[in-house]
Symmetry: C2
Subunit: 686 residues, 2 copies
């Protein structure tokens, strides 16, 4: 059976498995009326947001679909069509994942009444649905289109992968807006709810008297579940496509179709090992080490992938060095997890230093947190450059003689664990919501204790996911960058050299390097603006609706949901347009060399800023948690007040600006690849 | 008369003029006994720090002197010797400038008793001494060594400039440590004094009861005067040298010595126009617009330079396009000033937004400030890439046919205003100290009002200086980067292409891009650690010395000075070693291509981070000032408390980490240039 068919079958299998998990999760008890009512509010808010987001994006998608179809000089229809499907599949994965997450939350709260492991199972399997949906739809899209283009449309093997970029671009576009919109939504609701509720009114987190409490819970889902799902859908699709394009343009003539289809086979393998891994996540009777349970699943997936990869590589390429390049990708994933955990977990010195610095106030808490984020780029960059070096060397010393193919395979191997990583991340908002529901429905204390235990590891798993996402985004972007060079060569017969000493490349580097700064700045301010509108509404409700504080009147939750929905959708437009317009303007005005420089610049600073922001945010968050656990004076102390400030700053850092940079990096790279045939020789600077 | 002789004479003239200014400043009244006593404490503390700093650096300097002399394959003696003189001249400029600053402060306070303009004159001329000392010694060093190498040692014109890199490296090394040590000193003392004095004890800024008050005033001098002076000494020397090296290696054969000596002529011109500009800084009777007075001086200098440049260029090169490239540099300086002022002055919306965001607490103040800093990179990068593009185009379309020479001349033209920029910056600590002395000596309120008025523009001039410094550092670094490529070519006969698509260049880019993050992280934490030791000492004194709070006992100021001196010197070692070791390790282990990538990476992210940090810090500082002026509730309000937190975070951002990045960028580039002959072909990755 061909690897392409195998990949298609594997993705169908995973989709089926997702349905099995959905049935399992939905079959669980959903608790009493109060719980169901709260859960319904969250469901409605989340779905309303997603519907409106996709409606807004449908306009963009349609315009770009038409542009691609009519403006592209070659194969416009194929690229436009695969673009459309990429966008739709990404949206679909978001719908499925979030639809389950907002139903798993209340069932997790219910399960937490009786057992920690029971609750873990519901929450994790709810998250695993998103994981499987994302991976299977991405793989189905890539393998399906590849099959379609080669088998039905009769494109030659060295040309077909180039058309898949449309699918990747569709995924990138949705990912960009979903990350940006979701990120603004979740933090605007969170900050807005906290500023009035916690600080002005002194009521606890998730208190049903807070009019923004439902919006806050909705935010967890649209940000961490739908946004993150779209992000990794795109990473998965684009990484696979980049590897195939690179193979098609440099290796097919000498080594045949196998080099293009090998990544698909690895994709199929990853799906199977993810399904296996899911069943390794469980807690023994009386055990409470949740993080270990989650890791066990990921490690099981990694081991199954490694073993499978050995046989697949031997069978298809008969080259041990390419196998080792894949292992580099898996080891890199592991090391990134370890480093991220070191910088963001309450067990290690960075978070403890932040907590200690909080004793002398918010100023020192912030300086300390900023330093932790900046510091964390050091080990991450060392890991990434070592992985680049090792996988390049292995690829170069393989029978394929291609260092860049080695890098591409390392990146593809990282995808084996994507499903598990998504599951671990999606699990976060489910347990977070479960805790919120338990609080709002006034469930007994031991329920909240169980959901809190589940939620406690959420900060770390979320940080780990972000580290994973940006590292794999960087590797994928590097492969896209190579493909961009090849594409220029093919279309102009000119070998473009992106020499830093060339002033055009340099100008591009500066511009590209600046983009993540500009983009983050915009997002940080957008959160501030959107949060401010929430604050005003919450204050208004406390003022106008008598009896909220006494618990005799019900706040108008849906008003807050509505306000933050509108604000997030409005604020996502400008950064989205900046990201899409930047490479087009630079490409057509300053030319292919400047655009190449821009790609390099955006990869470098995008990676650094994303790591910096995610880890600083995670560390601030857990610094607060560490103090709340009773250290440095505990809740209510000066240190705690300082740590709350740090956490507030960290929120848009880690959940809005930081993660949106992955999408920025890749949308710019995919657009460059698409416009490459048109810009060679027509630009101002030549 | 040859341009070299002219430059030497001009620098001697400037040194003489500095002496005239010194005599003028020292001739002013120094106030009553109380004032003189306070001033003496500051003088002693500042000089003690500078002495110990230079003693520590003497060891480093000696080791590197010997290494250069014995390890360099060619002309080791000449490079080592010019290195030593570069280090000594830089130190000398620091001594002269700071020696005058710590005497001008008390005289400014005294002059402020009678007139605002009188006080401005003393403070500004005190600052102008540093400006003239820095510019004249730098120009003397470069022109002098060039004369020595070509005339006495008989080196050919195309080789002599290459030896000047030793002088530049000496300047870079001192600049690196002075910026780092001074930056840590000033902010550790400031933060330490504020945390206990203002926050714990509730006593005002500059209160003589605060045991760290003298250390705080010393810090202004060692950071903003000595540190900044060393920074711009290095920028001046290295920019000039880079332009000459570039001309020597690419244009001398075709166009003769004139292309090498033209930058020296521009240097001589800049000295003269700086002297002219100094006399344009004055306030009319009853006028209070101090910023306008300072700008008038800078603009006068710019205009004189522009006119002179026209005639010099016509005479020496007879090429109008090179003249315009110089104008690009001057216009860029102006635009950078405008943009920096926009982002950091209380008159415009960014600072006002931060002040407004302070109403909802420290969290929103911080988010807003971080966003302002990140945003400000956008216009700055647009200005810089436009300048690169324009000056490249002009150089390319000149009779010299060299785009890079165009960039080099734009950078050299920027140096015309260096003296004025330093004067404006050095003026800051003088007026800041004057205010402190007025407070401590309990002078009448109108004195403090005058010094406050002078000090108010200090935040903006300091931010403008930093913007200027990093932009000119970036241009200079680009020219150094070109020179690095030429040097590799000369030594290996191989044309190295720094293609971003090459994995070695890419690894270097990642590593170089990460360095400013690592470096800033270290400095931020170092300030925290050093501040903490000050906090402990201040708390101890309040506890052990009875009567401090009542004003009946005198705190042990010198203990605090001593502690922060030791802490700053200790903390400056590690970042200094990182900066020096990084290019050497990468060059010898990963090779010339990776080192080239590293240079590119450090220039890009170093520039972005420096702009980001300086402007965010300046904006936070002035956000606080804006509130203190009575907006958003004024002093003591919630907004004010929030703004104090923002200012505390901004302190190490703008005065420690941000400015040290200029030095980092250039020290790495000069080291690369020095080791270039040795690394071609010997490294691990080839």
């Amino acid at each position: 059976m061909s690897p392409t068919i195998l990949a298609i079958l594997a993705s169908v299998l995973a989709l089926g498995w997702a349905i099995v998990l959905i049935i399992g999760v939905l079959g669980k008890e959903d608790g009493d009326d109060k719980m169901v009512e709260i859960a319904r509010s969250i469901q409605e808010g989340a779905m309303a947001y997603l519907n409106r987001q996709y409606k807004t994006l449908a306009v963009f998608t349609l315009i770009i679909f038409l542009l691609l179809g009519f403006v592209l000089p070659e194969n416009g229809f194929e690229i436009a069509f695969s673009f459309l499907v990429g966008a739709i599949f990404s949206a679909l994965a978001g719908y499925i994942g979030m639809g389950v997450a907002v139903r798993a939350n209340v069932r997790t709260a219910q399960a937490a009444k009786t057992s920690l492991n029971g609750a873990l199972q519901v929450a994790f399997r709810g998250g695993a649905v998103t994981g499987l949906a994302v991976v299977s739809l991405a793989l189905l899209g890539v393998a399906g289109f590849y099959y379609l283009f080669t088998q039905s449309f009769g494109f030659p093997i060295d040309e077909a992968p180039g058309l898949l970029i449309g699918f990747g671009f569709g995924a990138s576009l949705i990912s960009l807006f979903a990350r940006v919109g979701g990120g603004i939504y979740t933090k605007a609701a969170d900050v807005g709810a906290d500023l009035v509720g916690k600080i002005e009114k002194g009521i606890p987190e998730d208190d049903p008297r807070n009019p923004a409490v439902i919006a806050d819970n909705v935010g967890d889902n649209v940000g961490d579940c739908a946004g993150m799902g779209a992000d990794l859908f795109e990473t998965y699709a684009v990484t696979l496509i980049a590897a195939m394009i690179l193979a098609a343009s440099t290796l097919v003539t000498s080594h045949g179709a196998v080099v293009v289809e090998y990544p698909l086979a690895l994709g199929a393998l990853g799906v199977v090992s993810t399904i296996v891994g899911i069943y390794f996540v469980r807690l023994g009777e009386g055990k409470t080490n949740i993080m270990a349970a989650l890791y066990r699943g990921t490690i099981a997936t990694g081991i199954v992938s490694a073993i499978g990869m050995y046989f697949i590589t031997k069978h298809m390429l008969n080259d041990i060095n390419i196998f080792w390049a894949g292992i580099v990708g898996l080891v890199m994933t592991l090391l990134i997890n370890i480093v991220t955990e070191y910088y963001t977990s309450t067990d290690y010195s960075p978070v403890k230093r932040i907590a200690k610095a909080s004793e002398t106030g918010a100023g020192t808490n912030l300086i300390s947190g900023l330093a932790v984020g900046l510091f964390s780029t050091f080990p991450m960059v060392i890991i990434i450059v070592t992985a680049i070096f090792a996988s390049y060397w292995l690829g170069d010393h393989s029978t394929l003689n291609s260092g860049v193919y080695g890098i591409a395979i390392a990146a593809v191997a990282m995808l084996s664990t994507t499903g598990m990583v998504i599951a671990m991340d999606s699990y976060g908002p489910i347990t977070d919501n479960a805790g919120g529901i338990a609080e709002m429905a006034k469930l007994p204390a031991h329920v909240r204790k169980n959901t809190d235990a589940l939620d406690a590891v959420g900060n770390t798993t979320k940080a780990v996911t972000k580290g994973y996402a940006v590292a794999s985004a960087a590797l994928a972007a590097l492969v896209l960058f190579q493909a961009y060079g090849e594409e220029l060569l093919k279309n102009s017969n000119e070998h473009f050299v992106f020499d830093i000493a060339d002033y055009r490349v340099l100008i591009g580097l500066f511009l590209g390097g600046m983009l993540p700064f500009l983009f983050s700045a915009y997002l940080m301010e957008a959160v501030g603006r959107a949060a401010f509108s929430v604050v005003e509404e919450v204050r208004r409700q406390f003022r106008d609706i008598k009896g909220i504080m006494e618990g005799t009147a019900r706040p108008e939750y849906n008003k807050c949901v509505d306000i933050v929905t509108k604000a997030a959708l409005k604020e996502m437009i400008v950064p989205g347009i900046i990201a899409v317009a930047a490479p087009i303007l630079v490409g057509f005005i300053l030319g292919p060399l400047a655009l190449g420089g821009m790609l390099g610049g955006v990869i470098i600073t995008g990676l650094l800023m994303a790591i910096n922001m995610s880890n600083a945010g995670g560390a601030w968050d857990n610094g607060k948690k560490y103090i709340e656990d009773g250290n440095h004076g505990g809740k209510g102390s000066i240190a705690h007040k300082a740590a709350i400030v740090g956490d507030t700053v960290g929120d848009p850092y880690k959940d809005t600006a930081g993660p949106a940079l992955n999408a920025l990096i890749k949308v710019i790279n995919t657009i460059a690849l698409i416009i490459a045939p048109m810009i060679a020789g027509v630009s101002l600077l030549g």
